[in-house]
């Protein structure tokens, strides 16, 4: 896994632990882990100080998203046992100097760019967490449709009807039938984001709720899915563009 990351670690640090923490860092705009996207170029540590170099797809990647990724990377890695200091480097980015200096000093975004940012990044981060929710939900809805469930049936399902067996995700339907929804990852991702957004995850809550926590009715589900599909296509197309451009950029170094 992640063979393209250049690693140099002392025996005291376990690469798996580091990867596990890094897997939590997402490109907020794409809702994908930066490790999977190939944005991590190298990780080097000496005793308790680790330096990680990120390589973003373009020189112009928006500084706000770049900041979030750098900040999240540092925060996650500082939680690794045995590490006391983490330095994040951004390779070939127009604002690398400012972002590195601020992130590595533990400063907030608005401290880093006092003239150009009017507030912190929470709102922006939230906007993309919400888009990611719709995308994750669309995948689940697609699996529900593929498993043969009608919109009426989907609208009746509650959170408590969903359960996992090993790598499989199963759903109890109204006639007592058990539906196989395929790989558990799709539902896990949906549930994780649903909980991150503080949406109701109790067993009696509807399985499909919108971003305001409201139940989506059987009549509303078709249009809901049509819109969700476009959100998914948009995020996927961006991810695809970014990885293609990054691969081209790496090829030249």
């Amino acid at each position: 896994m992640y063979d393209d990351v250049r690693l140099s670690l002392p025996d005291t640090l376990d690469r798996e632990v580091i990867f596990k923490r890094l897997e939590r860092v997402l490109d907020p705009e794409l809702d994908e882990p930066i490790l999977k996207l190939g944005f991590v170029k190298s990780i080097e540590a000496e005793s308790d100080h680790l330096t990680i170099e990120l390589h973003l797809p373009t020189y112009w990647c928006a500084p706000n998203f770049s900041y979030m990724m750098a900040e999240d990377t540092r925060r996650e890695l500082l939680m690794v046992e045995g590490l006391h200091d983490v330095t994040v480097r951004l390779k070939d980015h127009f604002a690398a100097g400012t972002i590195e200096a601020s992130v590595n000093a533990g400063k907030s975004f608005s401290e880093a760019f006092p003239d150009e940012a009017s507030e912190d990044l929470c709102q922006l981060s939230d906007l993309f967490l919400r888009k990611g929710y719709i995308r994750r939900q669309e995948r689940l809805l697609r699996n529900l449709k593929n498993a043969g469930l009608s919109f009426e049936e989907i609208a009746l399902r509650r959170m408590g009807d969903l359960y996992f067996e090993g790598e499989s995700c199963l759903l109890r339907c109204s006639d007592g039938r058990i539906c196989d929804l395929g790989t558990a990852e799709v539902a896990h991702q949906y549930l994780q984001r649903r909980s991150e957004l503080d949406l109701d995850c109790s067993p009696t809550a509807p399985l499909i709720i919108d971003l305001r926590g409201r139940e989506v009715t059987a009549e509303g589900l078709e249009e809901y899915l049509i819109r969700a599909r476009t959100v998914r296509v948009s995020l996927q197309a961006n991810g695809s563009f970014c990885t293609a451009v990054l691969a081209a950029r790496k090829g030249k170094n």
Binding site: E29, P57, T58, Y59, W60, C61, A62, P63, N64, F65, D92, F94, F109, S110, F113, D115, E116, A117, S118, E119, D120, L121, Q123, L124, L127, K131, I226, R227, R229, T230, V231, V233, S234, Q236, A237, N238, S240, F241, A244, V245, A247, A248, R249, G251, K252
Partner: protein, 342 residues
């Protein structure tokens, strides 16, 4: 023109550039960063045989452009963007003054886009009027992300932008091509937010807003806006380039545009010289939507839709009568050469 089954398809490249990014023209590291980023786009998505060396990419010259567009690229008319970027390039990246040289030489082959920057405020209004008087400016290309004196960008619904739209309308410049890109001001906002398009399109119903690169990376937000506004169009450059290496995504993007906007609102563009029109158009003409996508979206791309997208839609926006224009083109220098070679 593209010929298929004895039919001639009129092709307008809705979005192309004639830039000078020669290292001598770089003002600073941003000039280099800019063109290298474009070059990454070029190499990432072009078929291998269409990849240029970096030196050629920096400055390709008139002869190459004429060959790539008109001799080999099936293009009849090209919409020539003007992008200034004086903070990155000493003489500008491709200004309307520079672009006008090639426009003057082949007047029926190019539609020249000028621009404005609302941050020039009152003084800029006079300069804008002067530009429209002095140059055959038929459309505008707006670049909201451009840096200027410490400001890192502006929005279409800024009060000063509205004064320029009023003037553009008064002067008869109706087609506004908008590049949505990483406007980095204020930095904590979504840099690619397309919400300002909604305001401007509603408040200026006489103007047409062609959103270049279909709002990517905000395709979803763009679709919601374009569905509500009659005068918002999808400029398909950049998205087009997916057709080679990511054909499935491309098909799904097209299905989304057909579903939300319809075939009358979609406009082809190559973004030359980021990509060359020849392969884009050949692959687009060969495009068929996969059955699962057709079924799911309930749309299809017909030969008629392709004709509209490749030229008729934007020709309509610029008031080009295709049959009259074809006749003119057959008699200009390029047309005569093409006929002799055919």
């Amino acid at each position: 023109m593209y010929k298929e089954n004895g039919q001639e398809i009129f092709v307008v490249d809705g979005h192309m550039h004639f830039w000078d990014a020669n290292p001598e023209n770089w003002r600073n590291e941003y000039g280099e960063g800019w063109i290298r980023c474009f070059y990454d786009f070029h190499t990432a998505l072009s078929p291998e045989e269409y990849v240029w060396p970096f030196e050629k990419y920096c400055k390709y010259g008139e002869e190459t452009l004429i060959k790539d567009l008109f001799a080999e690229g099936y293009v009849d008319v090209a919409i020539l963007n003007s992008t200034y970027l004086y903070e990155f390039y000493k003489k500008g990246f491709n200004t309307h003054q520079q672009n006008n040289a090639i426009k003057a030489k082949y007047p029926d082959r190019f539609i020249l886009c000028g621009s404005f920057d609302p941050r020039a405020e009152e003084a800029g209004l006079d300069a804008f009027r002067q530009m429209v008087e002095d140059y055959p400016v038929q459309g505008l290309k707006l670049y909201t992300a451009e840096w200027r004196n410490g400001s890192k960008g502006w929005r279409l619904n800024d009060p000063w932008a509205y004064k320029y739209f009023e003037l553009a309308d008064e002067l008869g410049v109706k087609n506004i091509h908008v590049h949505k890109g990483p406007t980095v001001y204020p930095l904590n906002r979504d840099a690619f937010d397309v919400a300002d398009v909604d305001y401007a399109a509603t408040d200026f119903p006489n103007l047409n807003f062609i959103i270049e690169h279909i709002g990517l990376p905000r395709l979803d937000d763009f679709c919601w806006i374009a569905t509500q506004e009659k005068n918002v169009y999808a400029g398909m450059s950049v998205a087009m380039a997916f057709i080679h290496s990511r054909p499935k995504y491309f098909a799904e993007i097209v299905a989304n545009l057909l579903f939300w906007l319809g075939e009358d609102k979609m406009i082809f563009g190559s973004d030359y010289a980021i990509w060359t029109p020849k392969w884009l158009i050949e692959k687009f003409m060969a495009l068929e939507l996969p059955d699962d996508i057709k079924e799911e979206y309930g749309v299809d791309i017909t030969p008629e839709a392709k004709r509209k997208i490749l030229g008729e839609n934007v020709a309509g926006l610029y008031g080009i009568d295709v049959s009259v224009h074809r006749e003119k083109l057959s008699q200009d220098e390029i047309g005569v050469k093409l006929a002799a070679g055919a």
